[in-house]
Subunit: 426 residues, 2 copies
Amino acid sequence: MPELETFALKGNLLYTREPSRLECFPDHYLVCENGCVAGIFPCLPDRYAHVAVEDCGSRLIVPGLTDLHLHAPQYAFRGLGMDLELLDWLDSHTFPEESRYADPVYAERAYRLFVRDLQMSTTTRACIFATIHADATLLLMQLLEETGLVAMVGKVNMDMNSPESYCETTDGSLAETERWIRESLCRYKNVSPILTPRFAPVCSGRLMASLGRLQQKYALPLQSHLSESPGEVAWVKSLFPDCGCYGDVYDRFGLFGSNGPVVMAHCVYSGREERELIRKRGVFIAHCPQSNVNLSSGIAPAKSCLQDGLKVGLGSDIAGGFSLSGFRGISDAIQMSKMHWRLQDPDIKPLSFSEAFYLATKGGGAFFGKVGSFETDYEFDALVLDDAAWPSPSELEPESRLEQLVYLGDDRCIRKKYVKGRKIVG
Amino acid sequence: MPELETFALKGNLLYTREPSRLECFPDHYLVCENGCVAGIFPCLPDRYAHVAVEDCGSRLIVPGLTDLHLHAPQYAFRGLGMDLELLDWLDSHTFPEESRYADPVYAERAYRLFVRDLQMSTTTRACIFATIHADATLLLMQLLEETGLVAMVGKVNMDMNSPESYCETTDGSLAETERWIRESLCRYKNVSPILTPRFAPVCSGRLMASLGRLQQKYALPLQSHLSESPGEVAWVKSLFPDCGCYGDVYDRFGLFGSNGPVVMAHCVYSGREERELIRKRGVFIAHCPQSNVNLSSGIAPAKSCLQDGLKVGLGSDIAGGFSLSGFRGISDAIQMSKMHWRLQDPDIKPLSFSEAFYLATKGGGAFFGKVGSFETDYEFDALVLDDAAWPSPSELEPESRLEQLVYLGDDRCIRKKYVKGRKIVG
């Protein structure tokens, strides 16, 4: 592989080293060396005197955003059926649509639309659910690889409590999963497999136990859903009456961090015991505020998770969420934390802007390693943002411009996008 | 005035005659005669055989949206200071910014940016707060008149409990208000004055009583704020301990519908007594879900107001809300009604899509007369919408396309906009 070029971006740099503070370096240089951040400088040091400089003028430069949870095959029906709750919505919209991905022609047509939009979005890294179909999942991985985005993609497992037309046998699920792992494990530069039991109610004990062994055997990460809605939590309790909490179900089968890194979506109804297990096992939480509202699930107490030192990032949860935009994720997280404070717990303050920005960048990025910050040695994922579409009648500081951009901006604002030091948009 | 041309739009027509049902006429003709809807037809009747037809192909055509509550001078700082609650945010952002509109140069620069964006938005009719400055208010009215939008615009009144730099004397406020009314009352075709006491805590009894008399004298509508946040409600209670409820304060001074049409923003904390008074006086409620979340005010029970037969529309409440988009208002109203159902009152179901669409069109439009529907004789306000930016891998019905457009769309979708039969965009 040719060595990556060393270069610098010049502009208004903003990032969050820690949740409590948005750091701002106006009109500074951000140097990229070997795909990583080499430093931030007011003037270029001598050793970088001859590197290429991309002058971004007054634009804002922020770390790329990580989407810790989304379902690629649901992208086609985002913003539809939003009047339904989780379990009804799965039956009426999700399962019928996902079953169509058995057809490779449909899968390619639909996945191309998804991948095109993800490439142009705020996202530089993502954890993605595909469907139960190994071949369509491999196709999705190939399309993602071509974008330059970094993604973990999972063939979904589900062998019970599912519609006849969209269900696997236990043995079939395991055989196809291992085939998919072998075909994808070393095939791509930026895209890799992640084990994906859909959620406990649709996975038999034997399936889950075997997936735990596969996780260890292939050293894979794993993603699933946890404590999303009242109906789902009650269902899990009735299926696994011996388990102390929902997370304990996964833990008993080795799917809760004991065999490798794990990210769980939602955690709206994680109680004290479950949160303690989440902390102990180092499980990441994908906080998906928009989806939790759309499906009337509730509000996850993201602020208190952050205060307790749990690992939290944001997920769009397409198509429980309808928007791929990480900006929207940030503002949704803030808004829902305000409603949580006002309506549920006056002792837990709302998320501040910097805290929510942290969740979207370094918080979720940590699932991918040193990602989501402009600290030295972090992988160089960056967005160059343009807010010229809404001129202000008076001058604003970069911090204020970023807040406004997060609330008002859309894909039009993204002028350049870098992943691991490589420009993939602009 | 020249007679308005009779013409027809052809496309997929959608509107809500009543809240419970979205009516859809795919590939139909919508005829406009004398600025009003003359009818919907599958084929053009003979009497319209020779009128001009604007063929909108597969695009969606919906009634224009009404924004029942927004503050034009706050547009400059929308999406800023969103970490604050109402009363702090008024002191730190709102009053300092509004006081700048004493300067006509600044006012023109800022209002031009606002008016340009309002023209391109989903809004065809709006109730707008200006500032305390009569001249800047007249300037705003002039700029709005040039767009072709229909707007009611109010010079704000506030004579106590306000910062020294942004407050009026009672006599000064009344004199300037009457001057502004006289100068604006018959000056514009589409823009008219609306009395605008800011809210009870910043208006003396003498000011409010005099405004009630002005309302009667000039047959004007009136707008203000009501029961928005816990701190504000407690403040009003302490200032007017004799009043049964917040609405009763306005009512005692003749500002609650006894002297003419009234629209009150928010009503998050309107109890049984206040709602009864709202119904009795025929007061309109401007439901502003985004603002109520941003300022951590709470969630107004819009669904139960609708069920009780109260008059309800939607307001962006710029800059408590950050978005001018009425699409966003619809989805915010649905989302917040879901949280209200889940977290506050399981007996009040969430707003359905058609109910929220009704609020944004016919619900708020009613404050302007026969507005916000494609029923015969309604004023011809229409949006032609393009959803081609997000192709679906399979074909969708117009109703589904509209739901998706409301969740995913932005100003780019608005291809044509008609107000009172006149094309003002496209």
